[in-house]
Symmetry: C2
Subunit: 106 residues, 2 copies
């Protein structure tokens, strides 16, 4: 169960959808490191678990909008806490990592 929530792409997608609905290619461009395949798979799973809703909009080239559901917004709270913690502590992690890598290889 934690495996779905602990999935790195899911966390990122939920974070990106926090401010408001986004289209498929917006997400893809915004997240940056994700492959199209994984983005579709991640969105399918998030939809299945009730975190996001998928809406097909009949524009000229059909566009698809993804949006957090109520449950998704609710999940966003702890997820953003984690994301903000990470941002606030990257420097400390990098420092620890550098110290670890630089220590004598016993």
């Amino acid at each position: 169960m934690l495996s779905r929530i602990g999935d790195k792409w899911s966390v990122l997608v939920v974070s990106y959808l926090g401010p408001g609905p986004m289209r498929f290619n917006e997400l893809k461009k915004g997240i940056g490191g994700i492959s199209q395949k994984m983005l579709t798979a991640t969105l399918r799973n998030l939809e299945r678990d009730g975190f996001v809703s998928r809406t097909v909009i009949p524009t000229r080239p059909v566009s698809v909008e993804y949006e957090l559901t109520q449950l998704g917004h609710c999940l966003l709270v702890p997820v953003q806490a984690l994301a903000q913690w990470t941002i606030a502590n990257i420097a400390r992690i990098d420092a620890a990592r550098a110290a670890y890598d630089a220590r004598p290889p016993e």
Copy 2:
């Protein structure tokens, strides 16, 4: 960067180490679904990133104790928030999943 924190085993290990130090096999038994290989790898990475400390205790069969560092305890806060959210909302996720799976295959 989120990839290390978003890793499901890391989240679990940090949660288990929350209350206090644990030995290798205690962790393995407690977590339950983890392979020995992944537990060692996860602990190495957590140690490298400064979240846990590794202490070899010279008992009769040498035992190894893992403990959260100050940074690890700090990370524990948002991680536990996420874990508790999950526990509190498993039912809703399961319901959404059942509804998704049961819906007409269009």
